[in-house]
């Protein structure tokens, strides 16, 4: 065989290259142009200060742990939902979601792997609105979700946003949900005014909204922490499948609940944390007295924006534990409440929170941590999360507080709800949110037993509150 075929092939190659060059050079030049001027044109929206802005983000400190530890049994997903007065029209909801793409650049991203860390990259695809499924807070299958890390569901008159925790915390998710509902109502033709309480599509993206507040507020000062003892864990028969989550939500009048808490000189969060500890203690006290048991530790997330003047829509919360020793016999609710109040007073202190922030960010800044390849980091973080994350807490109680919505929106929204994820090692979680003078306390669980919920809501009913329960009654189907 001579060399002719080779030359023929080479010439074909040249033809292909020249054809491609002429055909796509304008595309490529466009691409280069876009990349260069992406500085102030993220998703086509203007940034407040026209400062250079990349089309990718590093994960913030709290976000880094989640991609490493998630799996089918622990999805790292939480849900916030809003009940409207009328049935949802999916097409309009979908349009509202598309319209907000420019306003929330930190939400419309996809997760990508680097050699050392994960990172978020702008997602060009269209976000999807789906009809709600019975599998709550399931692991988000990005391949079926156009690579987005959040899913927007509708069901009857409910809009639910399921969010992967790396994207944002409860505050960010609520702001996003409020904006979606606002835009949805606007598209329906309702005359509503944002009153600067909702982020709207007409506003410019503020740099503070997409900043990494952990890094911004980092100082090197670290105070020595008190050691947290390993926590008591609730043991019962798990639901048969990893995607089974039991939900029990209770709706209570916010003012009445506040009055009840004030009667004991406590805030709503303190009162509910104490009641939760009491409910665990009462539900499992027969098991407890057989031998010395570990304390009941309730993990309480703290919104750091309150202390550090941050407006970020990404993660910016840390958590602390309220720890109550349950080895004493006949613990009364008031004893527990006093102990919990002391815990709150001690832990919610700016210096202490700053120190916690510093130690967390410090670990990330460690040189060896930085240069360890991602797959090794994933293994290390998974081990660390098993040792620290789950062993120290019995349950999580997250109170997002009162959600401030514009007056004109109040006629369209009934109430809101937050459902935290629970997994096999932390079987129960509680999310609390108040909106329109209704406080919704939602328990999510991976076990059959509902003793804690029963004690919790019976106690509130006994105190004279009217409680309205809603459940997905998963136990009936299994």
């Amino acid at each position: 065989m001579g060399l002719t075929p080779v030359f023929q092939l080479i010439s074909i190659m040249f033809y292909i290259i020249i054809y491609k060059l002429s055909n796509s050079s304008h595309k490529l030049l466009n691409l280069v142009y876009n990349t260069r001027f992406f500085c102030y044109n993220i998703n086509g929206c203007e940034l407040m200060n026209d400062r250079k802005q990349e089309n990718w983000y590093k994960l913030d400190n709290a976000a880094k742990i989640y991609p490493a530890i998630i799996g089918k049994k622990d999805s790292g997903v939480f849900r916030v939902s809003a009940n409207l007065n009328n049935f949802i029209i999916p097409d309009i909801l979908g349009q509202a979601l598309i319209d907000l793409k420019h306003r929330f650049p930190s939400m419309y991203v996809k997760l990508k792997k680097g050699l050392f860390w994960y990172y978020f990259e702008k997602n060009e695809r269209i976000p999807i609105v789906k009809k709600e499924t019975p599998y709550i807070n399931e692991l988000i299958d990005v391949s079926k979700n156009n690579n987005y890390l959040f899913t927007l569901f509708y069901y009857n008159n409910r809009i639910s946003l399921e969010c992967f925790h790396s994207l944002c915390d409860g505050y960010g998710a609520i702001e996003f949900l409020k904006a979606i509902v606002f835009r949805y109502l606007e598209l329906l033709g309702n005359k509503i005014n944002s009153e600067d309480k909702v982020l709207t599509i007409n506003q410019k993206v503020m740099e503070e909204e997409i900043e990494d507040s952990f890094k911004k507020n980092f100082t090197s000062k670290v105070i020595k922490h008190n050691k947290v003892d390993k926590a008591y864990h609730i043991r019962d028969i798990h639901f048969p499948h990893y995607y089974n989550t039991g939900i029990i939500s209770g709706k209570i009048n916010t003012n009445k609940l506040l009055f009840l808490a004030r009667k004991s000189n406590a805030t709503i969060t303190e009162y509910l944390a104490a009641l939760l500890t009491y409910s665990v203690y009462e539900s499992y006290r027969n098991d407890n007295f057989k031998k010395k048991v570990k304390p009941i530790n309730i993990s309480i997330p703290v919104n750091m924006r309150r202390f550090f003047n941050s407006k970020t829509l990404r993660n910016f919360s840390l958590f602390f534990y309220t720890s109550v020793d349950i080895n004493k016999r006949n613990l009364k609710f008031n004893d527990i409440l006093n102990k919990v109040k002391k815990n709150f007073k001690k832990e919610i202190d700016k210096d202490k929170l700053q120190s916690n922030l510093n130690s967390n960010v410090g670990a990330e800044k460690n040189f060896f941590m930085k240069i360890t390849p991602l797959f090794l980091k994933n293994i290390l973080l998974r081990i660390a999360s098993n040792i620290l994350g789950n062993s120290l807490s019995t349950m999580t109680l997250s109170n997002l507080g009162n959600i401030d919505i514009p007056k004109s929106m109040k006629n369209y929204i009934k109430d809101m709800k937050i459902i935290l994820g629970s997994n096999y090692s932390q079987t129960n979680s509680v999310g609390v949110i108040s909106c329109n003078e209704i406080t919704t306390i939602s328990f999510s669980r991976t076990i059959f037993d509902t003793c804690i919920e029963q004690t919790f809501f019976r106690f509130l009913a006994k105190e004279g509150l009217s409680v309205e329960i809603e459940s997905n009654m998963i136990e009936n189907y299994l």
Binding site: M13, L31, V32, R36, K131, V142, A461, M473
Partner: protein
């Protein structure tokens, strides 16, 4: 609205038992269904994976035993075992949702090359290096050529795909030089397919560097940030 006398709570869900104490309550026919009706998820992929994973070791042992004691003509069992492992990996790679498309393509290029090499090596009785001819001379270079061409075709369709595939394409193009390097050592002949692949790899790299320099820079910055 339903009511549980024991718990003293109202229930806003269509149910005949109390969600808290599980005692019977009077059902309210007008009550709402508040969550979608539950039905178990069909997890067919996991079942198939378990079946294949349990059959594979059995087939491997069977092939080994047959080769050692019954059909002793050549080392054919190595090809059979490699084939079984390849199909097992094929399933694992293709259906794993956590592995992205470019990584899958590179992994396929490497695994197919390896299986071809093994078939070439063990297809005859004599296990000598000179037998490795058609795999290194024709099959592997043309395979890599096809993969590079395929990725090029995908890459230049959209701006996003160019970003997604760029670094992986560079890696694949570097792999495209390996057959040529092997041939220069004089292991196999003829040179044409290897030269063609190396040239195509070189052109692709050059093309990307000239026209996508800033994207390459950005991708490096993203992927290697510490």
């Amino acid at each position: 609205m339903e009511y549980c006398d024991r718990c003293k709570i109202n229930i806003n869900t269509k149910t005949n038992i109390c969600p808290l104490c599980h005692n019977r309550i009077k059902i309210d026919k007008d009550a709402k269904i508040t969550y979608p009706l539950y039905e178990p998820l069909k997890d067919k992929y996991t079942k198939t994976a378990i079946i294949i994973s349990s059959i594979a070791p059995f087939l491997i042992v069977l092939a080994l035993v047959l080769n050692l004691f019954v059909i002793k003509s050549s080392y054919w069992s190595v090809i059979a075992i490699a084939g079984i492992i390849y199909f097992w990996l094929l399933g694992l790679l293709t259906f794993n949702k956590r592995i992205n498309m470019p990584v899958k393509l590179i992994a396929h290029a490497i695994t197919i090359s390896l299986i071809l090499l093994i078939i070439n090596m063990f297809a005859s009785n004599e296990l000598v290096i000179k037998n490795i001819t058609w795999a290194i001379s024709y099959a592997i270079p043309l395979l890599i050529f096809t993969f590079i061409a395929f990725i090029n075709f995908i890459m230049f369709n959209t701006k996003q795909k160019l970003r997604d595939f760029l670094l992986y394409q560079l890696v694949l193009c570097l792999l495209g030089f390996i057959p040529l390097v092997i041939l220069i050592w004089g292991i196999a002949k003829p040179l044409y397919p290897s030269i063609l692949t190396a040239f195509y790899s070189y052109s692709t790299i050059l093309y990307l560097i000239v026209f996508s320099k800033s994207i390459i820079k950005e991708e490096f910055k993203k992927r290697f940030h510490i």
